[in-house]
């Protein structure tokens, strides 16, 4: 009992050790409680969709649901492709070449998420000032390549991961 200071140090160590173990314990139980809200296995299992596009005429498009979101599959005409490629990159808020938004050799097919990058509405096709899409919610205009041109949306409409299984079937996801 003649060394009170040393005793205090020992207690400090115990406090710090207890807080640390406590914090780790709290963290270990909080993470499962937070992570349970992330997409579950059933949601993740819906990750791919195959679409038969053989019936789509040039200039037309179809919309399919993938992971709860609409995907636009548009078969573009040569004029539309030419229009998309004539745009100067400087005119684009989110500069991206049309060539980078389609698969090589499949230039007529534009496959993209039909989700406005502003707040997630579904844009209307063949509307707006740029011959592409127009989002009715907050007035974003997209061009024929799905690139943002005017309005509050910050980015071009997203291109999902997809591949051509054969010339008629597109697999999204």
């Amino acid at each position: 009992m003649d060394k009170p200071e040393k005793k205090t140090n020992r207690r400090d160590f115990l406090f710090t050790a207890s807080y640390t173990v406590g914090a780790v314990g709290v963290g270990a139980i909080i993470w499962p409680l937070i992570d349970q809200m992330n997409p579950d296995k059933a949601q993740q299992a819906l990750a791919t969709t195959e679409v038969d596009v053989s019936q789509v005429e040039p200039g037309k498009s179809i919309t399919v649901l993938w992971r709860g979101k609409p995907v636009f599959l548009k078969r573009r005409t040569n004029e539309e492709i030419a229009e998309a490629r004539s745009v100067a990159l400087n005119d684009l808020p989110d500069p991206q070449k049309d060539e980078d938004r389609v698969k090589d050799g499949k230039d007529e097919w534009l496959v993209m998420l039909g989700v406005c990058t502003h707040l997630g509405c579904v844009p209307l096709s063949d509307k707006g000032d740029y011959n592409g899409w127009f989002c009715p919610c907050h007035g974003s205009h997209y061009d024929v390549s799905g690139r943002i041109r005017k309005g509050p949306a910050p980015k071009n409409m997203e291109i999902p991961k997809y591949e051509f299984v054969n010339s008629n079937i597109i697999k999204i996801g």
Partner: protein, 419 residues
């Protein structure tokens, strides 16, 4: 007067009160000295308590019949409307009750702004009140999603997408909120769970709000500190309870008017179409009580900027007690602030109107002007007016107003002879 010297009359009451002083609490609430000049704008606290209890009771009943599943929710709401005994009544009370709740809370907030109730020493009451308001907005938003109509679905999509504006982690947060890759069944499920939880959190905050109120006591229309108890105060019961009860009756008449004669006038017809993730309605609008903030969101041509300003419009209220530099509470004695107050009221109403209109042309211009003025009011006008304004003379007590001229005639009337 205070609970300290309260002794129950009966022996059993004393026995119980010594162990749990609930009777002392009841006595404190009954005798609570209240300024005698409280006007009808002060009755909305009671009205809001009524609104909260109405929502909780009708909500618990609705949850007995509602099914929180993307395939069944829409049909279960129609089931409530058509098959459940008095289901139509309970649901219409609940859905219109949300609007009535917000109507009352806005009056309550603007009363506080006019009479300076947020100022020292009542800052904590004000901040707890704002937390209640935030939880109310969250509860109302999630409740609106539950019928799983088109407006439910797309409202949920737009609001949850606000979080995607956060740099780097925004997309992950949005996915986490959804529990899916879009608003979907998991989203509906968790919104139902949280919608059931939030009112009880609000109830807890209401208790703190009233507790914090009972420390300094009520502000009053002349905004001066008063001695309690004194000839400036009356006991809460029966003087304030009867006034609150009368105001509540008037409020319930309006409430019943909506429920029985125009139950859908505050809603949107698109919500009677089942949610369809492939089609966005042509014109998405939130419920009326969120429109001013929606107008602010849309007035900024930048996604992150719009979200920051929208949340900023709410969070700036938290520092209001420190932005307003005037020592005088009530606008009655602040001739300059009084005018800016009414301009601000008109500004918020205008923003609300712009939020309901398409975001283009003149509407967009006006929404931008309104947004700038909204922030100008708090950041520039309030601090500057507080420093420069020459306020009118303030009465020393409610019973003895200032001699002449300055105060409102109605305040100076009663005791004129004596002074």
């Amino acid at each position: 007067m205070s609970e300290h010297d309260y002794i129950p009359k009966s022996k059993a009451g004393k026995w119980f009160n010594d162990r749990l002083p609930l009777l002392s609490l009841a006595s404190h609430l009954t005798d609570y000295p209240t300024p005698k000049n409280l006007n009808y704008w002060w009755t909305f606290g009671g009205i809001l308590t009524f609104c909260l209890l109405t929502q909780i009771i009708t909500g618990i009943v609705l949850a007995m019949h509602y099914v929180a599943h993307a395939d069944l929710a829409f049909a279960s709401v129609e089931h409530i409307m058509r098959n459940v005994n008095y289901g139509w009544l309970i649901r219409y009370i609940h859905s219109n009750g949300a609007s009535m709740f917000f109507l009352a809370v806005y009056i309550h907030i603007f009363r506080s702004l006019f009479y300076g109730s947020y100022k020292s020493p009542r800052e904590v009451i004000w901040i707890i009140g704002l937390l209640i308001y935030l939880l109310m907005m969250a509860a109302a938003f999630m409740g609106y999603v539950l019928p799983w109509g088109q407006m439910s679905f797309w409202g949920a999509t737009v609001i949850t997408n606000l979080f995607s504006a956060i740099p780097l982690v925004g997309e992950s947060i949005t996915t986490w909120l959804w529990g899916a890759y879009s608003v979907d069944n998991p989203t509906l499920n968790r919104f139902f769970s949280l919608h059931y939880l939030l009112p009880f959190l609000i109830l807890g905050l209401v208790v703190l709000h009233i507790w914090a109120l009972h420390v300094p006591g009520n502000n009053n229309p002349v905004g001066i500190d008063i001695k309690k108890p004194s000839k400036d105060t009356v006991p809460f019961h029966p003087y304030i309870t009867i006034k609150d009860a009368f105001a509540l009756l008037m409020f319930m008449i309006i409430f019943a008017g909506f429920v029985f004669f125009a139950p859908n006038v505050l809603g949107h017809s698109d919500n009677y179409i089942q949610a369809n993730p492939m089609v966005t309605p042509a014109h998405i609008v939130p419920e009326w009580y969120l429109l001013p903030f929606y107008a602010i969101l849309r007035s900024v041509p930048d996604k992150l900027g719009g979200v920051i300003l929208m949340f900023g419009a709410i969070f700036i209220l938290f520092v209001l007690p420190w932005l307003d530099t005037s020592k005088v509470r009530s606008a009655v004695f602040r001739p300059v602030y009084k005018q800016f107050y009414w301009i601000f009221v008109i500004d918020v109403l205008m923003l609300g109107y712009m939020g309901a209109m398409p975001a283009e042309g003149i509407y967009l211009v006006l929404a931008r002007v309104g947004t700038i003025y909204y922030f100008l009011h708090f950041i520039v006008i309030l601090p500057v007016v507080g420093l420069l304004e020459k306020t009118d003379p303030i009465p020393v007590s409610i019973a003895e107003p200032v001699l002449s001229g300055g105060a409102e005639p109605s305040l100076a009337k009663k005791d004129n002879g004596k002074i």
